[in-house]
C-alpha cells in the first residue's frame, strides 16, 4: 500500500501537464526545464518559475503603467519591457503568453495605443491562467513528495 497516494498525484500532475501542452499553454522548453531538475537541484523548475513570476509582474506593471499614462508616447521603452517579457516567457516554455505578446508587439510597432491596451489585457489574462495552472502543478508536486514519504506499517 506504499505510495498509492503518490502514484495518483503523479497521474494528476501528468494529466494537468498533458492538458497544458495540448492547450498550447506550455511548450517543450518547459520539458527541458524539468529535465534539468534532479536530486542535486530538486526544486529547479519551481525556482525558475518563481523568478519568472517575479520578473514578469514587474514588467507587466511597467507596461500597464506606461499605457495608462494619458500622455504616453514612449513606444520604444514599452518595446524593451515587452521584449524582456517575451524572452523570459519563451525561456520557461510559456508559449501562449509569448504568442499574445507577438500581437502586442505588432500593435506597439504601429504606435497603436488602443491596440496595445487590448493586447495587454490579453497578455494579463494568459499570464494569470498560466500562473494559476503552474501553482496547481507545484501544489500537486508538493503533495506527491509528501505522499511518497509516507510509511505504512508493514503487516506480516
Amino acid at each position: 500500500m506504499l505510495g498509492l497516494g503518490a502514484d495518483r498525484l503523479r497521474a494528476d500532475m501528468n494529466r494537468l501537464l498533458a492538458l497544458l501542452f495540448h492547450q498550447g499553454v506550455l511548450d517543450e522548453q518547459f520539458l527541458q526545464l524539468q529535465q534539468l531538475q534532479d536530486e542535486t537541484s530538486p526544486n529547479f523548475v519551481s525556482e525558475v518559475v518563481n523568478i519568472y513570476f517575479h520578473e514578469s509582474e514587474k514588467l507587466l506593471r511597467n507596461l500597464r503603467g506606461l499605457l495608462m499614462d494619458r500622455e504616453f508616447s514612449d513606444y520604444k521603452k514599452m518595446g524593451i519591457h515587452l521584449n524582456q517579457f517575451m524572452g523570459s516567457s519563451s525561456s520557461i516554455g510559456a508559449k501562449r503568453v509569448r504568442n499574445v505578446c507577438v500581437a502586442f508587439r505588432a500593435a506597439s510597432e504601429q504606435n497603436n495605443r488602443a491596440g496595445c491596451l487590448r493586447a495587454l489585457e490579453l497578455v494579463e489574462h494568459e499570464y494569470c491562467y498560466l500562473k494559476n495552472k503552474l501553482h496547481e502543478l507545484f501544489q500537486l508536486e508538493q503533495q506527491r513528495v509528501l505522499a511518497a514519504g509516507v510509511r505504512y506499517p508493514i503487516q506480516n
Binding site: 503523479r10 501528468n14 501537464l17 498533458a18 501542452f21 495540448h22 498550447g24 511548450d27 517543450e28 522548453q29 520539458l31 527541458q32 526545464l33 524539468q34 529535465q35 534539468l36 531538475q37 534532479d38 537541484s41 529547479f44 523548475v45 525556482e47 525558475v48 523568478i51 519568472y52 517575479h54 520578473e55 524593451i80 521584449n83 524582456q84 517575451m86 524572452g87 523570459s88 519563451s90 525561456s91 520557461i92 516554455g93 508559449k95 509569448r98 504568442n99 507577438v102
Partner: protein, 257 residues
Amino acid sequence: MFSSIAHYLHYKSLPLHSFPPPLYKYWKQIPHPFLDMGSVAGEFVRHVLPEKVGVSDHSAAGSEELHVLAVDDSHVDRKVIERLLKISSCKVTAVESGTRALQFLGLDGEENSVGFDGLKVNLIMTDYSMPGMTGYELLKKIKESKAFRKIPVVIMSSENILTRIDRCLEEGAEEFIVKPVKLSDVRRLRDFIMRGEGEENRKKGNHKRKLQDDYSISPPLSPAASLDCEISSLLLPSSSSSSPECPSKRPRLWVED
C-alpha cells in the same frame, strides 16, 4: 520523475499535429548520421527530448572543467543557462551585464589583470539585447583585446534576425544561438571547445554558419497547418547525409563525424 511526461504524451496517442510546432526543432537538431528516416513516427517523440544527463556524463577525464562566463540581463535566463552549464560539467560565472563581464575579465581599464590564471575563461556566452552594452558591443570589445580575443564568444538571442546574425559572425562570434537555449546546444558547445579544434576550424572558415532554418521562429497562430507542412518537408529524402546545404546554424564540424 518528470521525464515520464514524454512517454505519457506519446502513448496516449495524441495526434501528431496537436503537438505544438516547435517540438520538431529537436528533430532537425539531430545530426544526420543518426536520423533514421525509416521509422519517423516512433522516432519523432523519442528524439523530441535530449537524453537525460546521467552521472556518467561528467567528464571522468575530469580535471578539465570548462569555465564559462555567461552574460544576460534576464534573471530567468541566467538561472537556466547556469543550470544547463552546471549539468554539463562546466564551471559557470553568470553576470548581468557587459560591463560586469568586462570587469570580471579585467578589461574595464582597471589595473587588474594579475592572477587570472585560476579564473581562465574557456567560453563566453552572451545575450544580444541587453541594456547599456549589447552583446554585440561586448563581442567587439573582447575581440579587440589581445588577451581575450581567442576566447570563443557565443551570442544568444530570442530574435532570429539574419542581419544581426551576420553581423555577429562577422565580428568573430563562434556561433549564434536562438533562444531558448537547450541542453543539446550547451553540450554541443562544450564538446566543440573540449575538442579544441576551434582554432583550426576558425582558420578554415568552416564553422561560421548562418541561421538558415526554413521555419519561422515565432510560433504561427495556426499550429496544425504549419506543423503538417514542416513535417512533410522533413520527410522528403535529403540529398545526402552530409549535404552542405544542410540548413543549420551548427558549425560544420558537427557533420564531419
